[in-house]
Amino acid sequence: MLRKIGTTLAIIAAAILPVIALVWLPAWAILVAIAVLGVWLALTRTGRQAWSATAVGIATIPQRLGSSSVVIVGIAGVVGVLIALLAMAEGFRATLHETGSDDTVIVLRAGSQAEINSVVDSDTIHVVAEQPQVMRDAGGKQIASPEIVVDASIPKKGSTLDANVEIRGVGEQVWELHPRLRIIAGRRFSPGLRELIVGNKAAREFAHTSIGSKLQLNGEPWTVVGEFDSGDAHDSELWADTNVVATTYHRGSSTSSVTVRLTSPQAFDAFKAAIKSNPQLKLDVQTTRTYYNAQSEGLTQVIRLLGTTVAVIMAIGAVFGALNTMYAAIATRTREIATLRAIGFRGVPVVVSVLIETLLLAILGGAVGAGIAWALFDNYTASTLGANFSQVVFEFRVTPALLAAGLKWALAIGFLGGLFPALRAARMPVTDGLREL
């Protein structure tokens, strides 16, 4: 009895180690392991025995299609859900990551965390812009954009519920800060006028934001005159002249933030030190990369945690499903396996053949799940509330790394589901097996 418990514990320990390895190993290491397995199957005597036993197993799959599909669909479900949720986290993270860069710096009031909370007065804006590390344009002007962030409630398309869209007042140098930004329709707003340009994602999500539309902002009529594509989180915003936004929202000469372009990323430390050493300024200085990365951190972690938790629970269900299937598969093949053993096959080829069969089904399930997740959710548009209490529109990204992670999970589930039935097959007494009907 004790010995039996001991063996079971040892087997469980032996099963957990490869699973951990599978989840942590890089993809290339798994490919190498598969290649080694292939060489072993082709070149050694035991390997060739294992391969012929596997071939018999695979050939009988069509006879038990129903129960084999339990393994495939179970694993496809786990992998699909896992990839979809991680793709959501990845899309949000990447969108905000790409919004920042290492050579532009955002200056906010100390402690304010997000632009909507921050107020920076006009004296501060001048001091910041005049630092020697700030790049100058061809005309010798500092590349600095004092920006105001306010929210406006606009219904989303096809919905009666209001959602917050971010209105960003930008300085005249803003175009130098966003070299990738292109006007894709209409024109830029004219300084001094109540004109807006709309990010392409905001235009897609919100009603009344197409070119020519009039919007009421704080009781004043504004016109949308252009649409832009910046390829990052700014696509969820509407932009206008910062001075006109300040007037509409009674902000005086203060703004929410100042963003400047530095002469080089290396100039950041000197720039920050200069601002921090000025006792009159209470400001937070960070590269836009740091600022936007920090905004995605919390939500990204929550979604990843959620995705992994859901996938682990689903995987437990899938492992038991696979166990059922494979035990049943072995039960129906009892006589075959016993015959193989009787004609001289050893335990190892039998174990390996059952494992390979399960892993093949698992990989197929993983591929189906990954394929469905990719087809349904790659570039799927979603939105959430960002740090400025306004909608950030982003797209799910099903990256190759996520697909690889999904396949690794599939292999791990298949391994657990196949190992115990494989061991039972190998340990079955030959004489009993041959007598089995």
Partner: protein
């Protein structure tokens, strides 16, 4: 009922297979319970009985814009308004931005309007009397091990003090409880005196984040809302008044389409589950064909065989599902007791009923094909093993 033993014996004829299937069913319903607990936390906010009589007035421009405090008196005079209070979002940080919780500056009569936040009378008096007094919900106090008398520093993100300092220190004078388990997430908030806040902040003085009205008759809510919004029509601070539930619903929908996410995951889970249990039932019936034939021989009707097999598959689902939902219930209680800040409601009656409905439905669905096979088999063929 007299056949229960027979069904039970049939179910556990192959112990390992039934056990594994039960574990799969358990995992599916564990997930069902957990995800629905999160979904309900998002959708049920503001739907309490107290919430039905409360309305929120925010700036029409966006809820991040402030309104003049002078509106307070004018809203009070609107017929149908029983009480008005107001609040400001403070957005302070306790030690680390990851320790997020709502913290708001609220008017002295806030707890009269929010009578569902139960604060002992002595603590309520202390809150009004203490300039720097603060009141927190019981689960928030548990999370940070706060007790009455503690000094709690918050780092301002929006409102520095007059001297430019971001550190605001509050004296904890009260801890409130929420009895309604469906509104428990309201215990994760921190309230302090609006008067102190307004005197000490550097800018924005005399402005209020939003107003909360208690209406005398919930059926008058629409008319009262229109009357309140009419007060500020065509001013530079136009308002939008709506029920608390409507505001929460709009806010939740801005955060994420939780319903879609939970729905998609559960779709994948239950599709897999149907296939898995269906396969188990098909195997179970296939193995037992001779036995079913004997039952028929000794006089069981076709219908009884159908019912026996269906009962077996429903029992399989109900057994695993009930254990899974029970585990979900337990897990949610543990998560909430630990003060882990995930919005979750206890697995309530609604989720249990929906769960049992699903168990019965899936049980019948996966049982029906094998059951018909059992019902239609011809005794002679089955006994002959054809």
């Amino acid at each position: 009922m007299k056949y229960f033993n027979l069904i039970w014996a049939a179910l556990f004829r192959r112990k390992t297979r039934t056990l594994f299937t039960l574990l799969s069913v358990m995992a599916a319903f564990l997930l069902f319970g957990l995800l629905n607990s999160v979904r309900e936390a998002f959708t049920s906010a503001g739907h309490s009985i107290e919430g039905a009589s409360r309305m929120l007035t925010i700036s029409k421009v966006s809820f991040t814009m402030e309104l003049p405090q002078s509106l307070d008196m004018r809203i009070q005079s609107v017929p149908g308004v029983a009480a008005v209070t107001y609040a400001n979002w403070f957005g302070g940080i306790y030690q680390d931005p990851k320790n997020f919780f709502a913290n708001e500056a609220v008017a002295a009569n806030f707890f009269d309007v929010y009578s569902d936040l139960e604060l002992p009378p002595a603590e309520r008096r202390a809150f009004v009397a203490t300039r720097t007094g603060a009141v927190v919900g019981a689960s928030l106090a548990r999370r940070f091990h706060w007790k009455i008398g503690d000094k709690i520093p918050l780092q301002a993100t929006i409102f520095p003090q007059k001297d430019g300092s971001n550190t605001w220190t509050f004296d904890l004078v009260g801890i409130y409880h929420v009895t309604n388990s469906r509104e428990k997430q309201q215990e994760d908030a921190f309230f302090f005196n609006w008067k102190y806040f307004d005197e000490a902040r550097q800018f924005g003085n005399g402005k209020v984040g939003w107003y909360i009205e208690k209406v005398a008759q919930p059926k008058d809510a629409d008319r009262v809302a229109q009357a309140i919004d009419a007060l500020s029509a065509n001013s530079d601070h136009e308002t939008k008044t709506q029920s608390e539930a409507a505001f929460q619903a709009a806010f939740a929908s801005q955060l994420a389409d939780i319903g879609l996410i939970v729905g998609s995951i559960m779709g994948a889970v239950f599709f897999t589950l149907v296939l898995l249990t269906g396969n188990t039932m098909a195997q179970a019936v296939r193995e037992r064909i001779p036995e079913l034939a004997i039952l028929k021989t000794i006089g069981f009707s076709n219908r009884s065989i159908l019912v026996l097999v269906l009962a077996e598959s429903v029992l399989l689902l109900a057994l695993g599902g009930a254990i899974g939902l029970g585990l979900a219930d337990l897990a949610v209680s543990v998560i909430r007791a630990q003060g882990i800040p995930i919005p979750m409601l206890p697995v309530g009656l609604a989720i249990w009923l929906e769960g049992f409905g699903l168990m019965a439905f899936i049980g019948l669905l996966v049982g029906v094909l094998p059951a018909r096979r059992g019902m239609r088999l011809r005794i002679v063929d089955a006994l002959a093993g054809r």
